[in-house]
């Protein structure tokens, strides 16, 4: 322990966590190979790496999801060797993990959720007074100004995230692990969350932050450990941190440009939406989309920028088979001719595909393998008279696996076991096999690492090059600026701006949003 302190260069603080020589093997795969990680008291230690690099596996080892004995190596926390056999054991010593998918019970109140499994009770009888006052105190600590009685289901994702953190604080956390905490947060909420981690530092709470957002990592992390292919590549100190260096280290080569180059070959108008009006499915008198006009030409990559809740996803889903909304009016045209998109089937037949923003809930059958997921939107393409040609299907699946570079042992791997980037490639393959003329991509790179993003941009470019139209919804403005020929700006259910790709900038987009806000009365 003593020489370790001297060697990590942070001799002021003591090391609270040491993971030494962790090796974890799954049948046929070495997920982790001799990984080392140490965390000192009160630091924010970021772990970055591509999808499938082993970040989540490492955290599952640490939190006891993979019990002691199922991996090799030592986990030492506060000087004691740990033999965790479940999350309960790791939480008892003060290690709390907050997963990407939040683990809150929606129909219980904030206070009940905070003390779930850790109830303020005497002999099994809950002391509601203490629950409320305790919750109030914890909510103040995380800066959430909500009534502890509010049901969690009424909170947005950002606030739910804060409730999760309050829940961790209730367990007297010493080491907080956050897995992609800002993946689904708007920028303001993300910043608030990161500020909170910095504030926790002062109270001696260390954090492990797993994130794909390199700008955030370089802003708050004291040290960064890079994993690649299940191995520790390096640990950088604060002064060494730079985005380019991280990327180089993550992918094992330097990426000169994060966006692949492309020479647009734009043809005639492919897809038009005119005067599109959509009402809220429950509050049917409320307009969610208030008369949108937009167009995409062949070979064109068009972006839709906007804040969360601006109606972008609602617009896409209402066009795609009326899968969102009520009282929809307006016209959709493909190649100048009006088309019926009133059911998913009709929309697909008209040549439209929609890749959802939530691939796990809406995109994939996670308990089935890649082959079946790739063909499900176009079974007719691999069957005759309702009978599936197994060999043709296998050929298609292998073909798309190679084309979109899905990393898996075979097409018989369950999609639930793939990393986020590879799952996204399966969803893309599914829609590519349906051969659409217009591809609507909703947050296509959310929760995906730099390397896989580049691959997805390359696929997008290739599709545009084949003369298809691409419509991309994204909350990451640099991404839209990097790949789009034209960008629409949406706010509160309207198009409030249209910018050519080469003259667009983050400032112009923001200005369009802000200016647009006045018009919505």
């Amino acid at each position: 322990m003593q020489d370790r302190l001297a060697s990590n260069g942070q001799s002021m603080n003591k090391t609270i966590l040491e993971m030494r020589g962790i090796t974890k093997t799954f049948p046929g795969v070495k997920a982790l190979q001799d990984v080392n990680l140490d965390v000192v008291e009160g630091e924010i230690h970021a772990i970055v790496g591509e999808n499938g690099a082993g970040k989540s596996t490492l955290m599952k080892v640490l939190s006891g999801v993979y019990p002691h004995g199922s991996y090799e190596g030592d986990v030492v926390f506060e000087g004691h060797e740990c033999h965790f056999h479940g999350i309960h054991d790791s939480e008892r010593v003060g290690i709390v993990i907050i997963h990407q998918e939040l683990a809150l019970v929606p129909l219980l109140s904030i206070a009940e959720n905070i003390f779930l499994g850790n109830e303020r009770a005497r002999n099994g009888v809950i002391d509601w007074h203490e629950v409320r006052s305790g919750a109030r105190k914890l909510l103040d600590m995380v800066g959430l100004n909500e009534d502890p009685e509010t049901l969690v289901t009424h909170l947005g994702t950002g606030k739910q995230q804060l409730v999760e953190i309050a829940k961790a604080l209730a367990k007297e956390v010493k080491l907080l692990i956050l897995d992609e905490p800002t993946a689904s947060l708007a920028e303001k909420d993300s910043n608030a969350l990161l500020d909170l981690l910095v504030a926790f530092k002062k109270q001696g709470i260390a954090s492990i932050l797993i994130s794909h957002k390199l700008n955030e990592v370089s802003k708050v992390a004291d040290r960064i450990t890079v994993l690649r292919d299940g191995k520790t590549i390096e640990t950088m100190n604060r002064e060494e941190i730079g985005e380019d260096r991280i990327i180089t280290s993550m992918v094992g080569r330097s990426i000169e440009d994060r966006y692949p180059g492309r020479t647009p070959q734009i043809g005639e108008t492919l897809f038009e939406v005119e005067n599109w009006v959509v009402h809220h499915p429950i509050h049917t008198e409320r307009q969610v989309i208030k008369g949108v006009d937009l167009a995409v030409r062949r070979g064109e990559v068009v972006g839709i920028a906007g804040l969360m809740g601006s109606g972008r996803t609602e617009l896409a889903m209402s066009v795609f088979g009326r899968t969102y909304g009520h009282g929809i009016t307006g016209q959709v045209r493909m190649n100048g001719k009006p088309v019926d998109t009133s059911s998913v089937k009709k929309a697909v037949d008209a040549g439209i595909a929609y890749v959802t923003e939530d691939r796990k809930t809406y995109g994939l059958n996670l308990i089935d393998h890649i082959k079946h997921n790739v063909t499900i939107a176009n079974l007719v393409g691999v069957s005759r008279g309702g009978v599936i040609d197994d060999l043709a299907e296998l050929r298609v699946a292998n073909d798309y696996r190679a084309r979109t570079n899905i990393r898996s042992s075979s097409v018989y791997q369950l999609t639930g076991n793939l990393s986020g980037g590879n799952q996204q490639k399966v969803v893309l393959s599914k829609w590519l096999f349906a051969d659409p003329q217009l591809l609507i991509l909703d947050e296509p790179t959310r929760g995906i690492d730099v390397g896989a993003k580049y691959e997805i941009y390359t696929i997008i470019n290739k599709l545009a090059g084949e003369g298809r139209g691409i419509l991309i919804i994204s909350s990451e403005m640099p991404e839209l600026l990097g790949i789009c020929d034209r960008i629409y700006v949406m706010n509160e259910g309207r198009i409030v701006g249209e910018l050519a790709g080469n003259e667009a900038s983050q400032e112009k987009i923001m200005r369009a949003i802000v200016r647009g806000e006045g018009k919505t009365a």
């Binding site: 089935d368 073909d399 190679a402």
Partner: protein
């Protein structure tokens, strides 16, 4: 679309696919082994009564209606639903059949077709609420269970109606005719064995067909550059299956041959294996159960699909009701009660998942046979009905625990 990449991509994909195929079939093999173990156990425990030709024939007759309903239930459960009403529906249809044939003297064939129509209608009426109005299937079919139990009582007026016309009885009591005429094998001093030749011929024909089709499908896989399963494994598997079929048909042949109801059942099993493994309809049902939202967004009409699943289930429940009524040769108000539990248990023993998206026809059929053989064996041994229930319950629990344990280990 393009095929240039096939060969390069096939090599790694195909090799591990062999392992995947074995792994994915491991459970089915395990089930077959469990069924055989149970049969061997009872063969000894009943002093050789279990495998007697007359008893084996009986096992088929006793379980045919459970197996037939298990086929539909498999689709229902894979689709993410449940149907608690099948027992009551089969009882109700049996009652309708009795009224039509016995009281109204309707032609048995016409009456049977009408009854299947009634089953489809019942399935449709339940499927409507489940598919289009999104009422949980558990509740709709629980209601259906009560409704049709009550309706059978009502139309039978609390009495038993029978007997059925002889043609109709043939459905459950008859055997296929021996078109080749029987052959007799002298056994020295013991009584000679008379064999039902047609049954033997059918058994051999089925084995030959299985060998032929598995060889051609292997060859076609290899011709297209995909590695098939190792030949040794393939040969052993085919040999075992062939031997079992031959043994089974030989045993049946030494009694009265193949029962009519087994012909119906076998055709239905083949059809359902085909639907679930080879057709777009089957694939869509698995997609629906695996992730209904994703299936819907992939252009699958999930509502209509759910509706059809329940129509199919209703028809199969009706068919089972006819078979059961023909077997008893009377329709009683109690007919069909509790069948739903055996049917659902068979599907879960066969490896289907409560959450939907997982399950195989072969598994459900074997699951039904496991239950059936246990019923039969324990009855011969003279185990009381109360303890039979206890043991069956524990087997169901054990099978599912084993399954879940295996999945978590993987």
């Amino acid at each position: 679309m393009s095929s240039e990449t096939v060969n390069s991509a096939a090599a790694p994909g195909a090799r591990s696919s062999v392992r995947a195929i074995i792994q994915s079939n491991l459970r089915d093999y395990g089930l077959v082994v469990a069924l055989l173990a149970i049969m061997v156990f009872f063969q000894f425990a009943t002093n050789g009564t279990l495998f007697k030709p007359v008893n084996l024939t009986n096992i088929v007759l006793q379980n045919s209606y459970i197996i037939i309903m298990a086929l539909g239930m498999l689709l229902v459960i894979v689709g993410g639903h449940i149907d608690l009403s099948v027992g009551s529906v089969s009882g109700f249809v049996g009652a309708v059949a009795a009224i039509l044939m016995v009281e109204y003297d309707l032609n048995p064939l016409v009456a049977a077709i009408l009854c299947l129509g009634v089953g489809a209608l019942i399935g449709a009426s339940q499927g409507f609420w489940i598919a289009y109005l999104k009422i949980p299937s558990f509740i709709v079919t629980l209601a259906g269970m009560l409704v049709f139990k009550g309706l059978s009582l009502a139309i039978l007026g609390g009495r038993s109606v029978g007997p059925f016309p002889p043609e109709f009885q043939m459905l459950s009591a008859g055997f296929i005719p021996d078109v080749f005429g029987p052959i007799t094998i002298p056994q020295g001093e013991a009584a000679p064995i008379t064999l039902h030749t047609t049954t033997l011929v059918i058994g051999i024909a089925i084995v030959l067909a299985i060998v032929y089709f598995s060889l051609t499908s292997r060859a076609s896989r290899e011709r297209h550059g995909y590695q098939a399963e190792p030949f040794a494994l393939f040969a052993v598997k085919t040999a075992i299956i062939g031997a079992l079929i031959l043994f089974f048909t030989y045993t049946l042949a030494s009694y009265k041959g193949i029962p009519n109801v087994m012909v119906v059942m076998s055709i239905l099993i083949a059809v359902f294996v085909f639907i679930t493994r080879m057709t777009t309809l089957g694939r869509r049902i698995y997609a629906l159960g695996g992730n209904a939202k994703a299936a819907q967004l992939s252009g699958i009409k999930t509502e209509r699909l759910t509706f059809y699943i329940f129509v199919i289930m209703g028809m199969l429940a009706a068919l089972a009701g006819l078979i059961f009524a023909a077997r008893l040769n009377t329709a009683t108000p109690k007919a069909g009660q509790g069948f739903e539990l055996d049917v659902i248990a068979a599907v879960f023993i066969g490896g289907a998942s409560m959450a939907g998206g997982v399950g195989q026809v072969a598994g459900a059929v074997i699951g039904a046979f496991i239950m059936g053989v246990m019923n039969n064996g324990m009855s011969i041994m003279g185990v009381n009905i109360d303890w039979q229930q206890v043991i069956k319950g524990l087997v169901l629990l054990g099978a599912v625990v084993f399954d879940v344990y295996n999945k978590n280990k993987a």
